[in-house]
Symmetry: C2
Subunit: 119 residues, 2 copies
């Protein structure tokens, strides 16, 4: 059982997976759920600047892919909690690394951009 899938192949299903991971807000949501289950409003507050529409879309996608679970409590006012599934937690490992890389290399990137007079 070697490498069954290869993202470099044009029609490999792993591309769809990679596409989902690379979606604009996936990294944010998955990382935000790192510390445990979270309500919709909490997520929205945590991920500054995300709109409810986009957050909903992202959560639905992650849910469809089995990365996030949604638990709706039968209460009033409504309460809904999102959490990472085991699969989602496994994805968290690389995505945490990506996040850290982004946060750690801001100066490097900015320096590189500054070095370019006009792009």
């Amino acid at each position: 059982m070697g490498k069954a899938y290869n993202v470099m192949a044009a029609t490999c299903p792993s591309r769809t997976v990679l596409h989902r991971i690379g979606a604009r807000w996936t990294v944010f949501v998955v990382n935000a759920l790192d510390e445990g289950p979270c309500r919709f409003g909490e997520l929205k507050g945590h991920i500054r600047g995300i709109t409810p529409k986009v957050l909903t879309e992202t959560l639905r996608s992650l849910e469809a892919d089995g990365l996030v679970s949604r638990h709706e409590y039968d209460e009033n006012p409504p309460r809904v909690e999102y959490a990472l599934t085991p699969l989602g937690r496994s994805l968290l490992v690389p995505l945490r690394a990506v996040r850290r890389w982004a946060e750690e290399h801001v100066p490097d990137i900015e320096a590189a951009r500054a070095r370019r007079p006009i792009a």
Copy 2:
């Protein structure tokens, strides 16, 4: 000097960085350059399905951010080689992990998607 940057903050510059990393084809190009310098045509052949326009755009972006270097040989026919910079190689570490995750978890994702009746 603790955490200076936080991607969760709406205006943190790390967001721009993360955005660039998450760009559609970044993962592909960086991973394709894993094995060493590569010519334009080789990259295009390696990353099946990418169009020259998109590949060019991606390379320019990565170059502007100091992740990829471009070396133009003064030959005819023209020869241009792209390679990862040290910074790009540091990014390769997490991106390689992301790629591997995508390739390894195709069955899981597909199973999850199949579990959803309509979505």
